[in-house]
């Protein structure tokens, strides 16, 4: 028996898909902001912190990078209520994803900071820059420029990884897909559409980052 494809039911639910898409974008954007800030803080700690702070930063990065995201989300999802913190599922997903991204971003930014030659910092000192000025202008900005491509790939991977938040019932695009699937039983069609939307989003995001690169780091 030949299978007859039926995308009509899927497209009929396009409002649900668009809502999901909007939440995926929101989840991605907030996670990138918080994940980047965590990464920045942890990377600076890993390079400049005291011995124990360095160890803590290192432990955080290793624990997150060596365990699956889905398990991390479950731990946050079930862990927060057990210490009496009750938050909406969207916030929980953002926290879990930001903790995850933070570790990867930290590792990338740390590599960037360490790629700045010591002589640059010495030149900054001899020019009478303050410590903050040196960190900002001599270390951080050139470091970020060096690791920009890796950081942006990580952000694209993160966007795709927000789909995992569907497993704690965060109502993003993938979750919307599973709802439509359970209503229409058009599983293959639903996930084909979902996959194409994510692919388009990934391509758009890469293009956006390429344009942003020119604007941010132009001389």
């Amino acid at each position: 028996m030949a299978y007859s494809f039926n995308f009509r039911d899927v497209f009929a639910a396009k409002d649900a898909l668009l809502d999901g898409l909007a939440l995926t974008l929101q989840l991605t954007a907030t996670t990138i902001v918080f994940g980047f800030l965590i990464g920045l803080g942890v990377a600076a700690t890993a390079v400049y912190g005291s011995r124990w702070a360095k160890r803590a930063a290192h432990a955080y990065v290793e624990i997150i990078r060596n365990t699956p995201l889905i398990v991390q989300l479950f731990v946050v999802f079930f862990g927060l209520p057990s210490v009496g913190i009750k938050l909406g599922v969207f916030t929980v997903a953002t926290i879990g994803l930001a903790i995850n991204l933070g570790a990867y971003a930290a590792e990338i930014i740390r590599a960037g900071i360490e790629s700045i030659p010591r002589s640059q910092v010495e030149a900054g000192i001899s020019l009478g820059f303050t410590r903050t000025q040196i960190f900002r202008h001599v270390v951080l900005v050139p470091a970020l420029k060096n690791v920009y491509p890796s950081l942006m790939s990580q952000f694209v991977l993160l966007m795709l990884a927000t789909s995992v938040a569907s497993q704690i019932a965060a109502p993003e695009l993938f979750y919307a897909g599973s709802i439509i699937q359970s209503r229409t039983y058009r599983d293959f069609e639903v996930y084909t559409v979902i996959a194409v939307v994510y692919l388009a989003l990934a391509i758009l995001l890469r293009m956006l980052f390429a344009v942003a690169h020119r604007l941010v780091f132009r001389r």
Partner: protein, 216 residues
Amino acid sequence: MIRDLSWIDPLYLVLALRWTLGLTVLALLGGAPLGLIVAAVGSMHRPAARWLARGYVGVVQGIPLLAWLFLFFFGFPIFGIEVPAWLAASFAFSVYASGFLGEIWRGAIQSIPRTQWEASVSIGMSYVEQLRHVIIPQAVRIATPPTVGFMVQLVKNTSLASVIGFVELTREGQMTAAATLAQLPVYLMVGALYFVVCYPLTTFSRVLERRLHGVR
């Protein structure tokens, strides 16, 4: 029936780890040959071949792994083929691995100096011979650390096979958590088991990386 978490549960989790590792091996068995083809096509002189490989990698890396899992899981029945969850997962992870390994290996191949290509073509080698006898033996050294690093990603990401009902470590954890309602201890245990597998691999990858740069 809710039961208490008992001493046997960690044991079951440890045993479930073999399915996580088994799926990783299957993904590598499927993904490595495919990835090699992607890398070889992507390193060819012809622009069309390069674009083909780049397009493949872009599509594989631009679609969430969860979607690949569902596409294979629901895709086979369309052709009247019923496949068990582990087989659908193996296909999905092979595709996923081929995209990432293909890109890593293409990068390694392209880091080999042009002169090596020129020298080997001047003694009459075909493209495949060049790759096999001259380029790949040198590229392997460069490709090994990131390949081991990707294996960590693979081990971790097999956790997503739980969503199509394949009982590996994460799925076993979900079932234990559902039966005991001790979600937090169970998931911490599951996380710890992944860590035990992944951390040595990460460390190994780092050692290889350092050795590579130390020799230079």
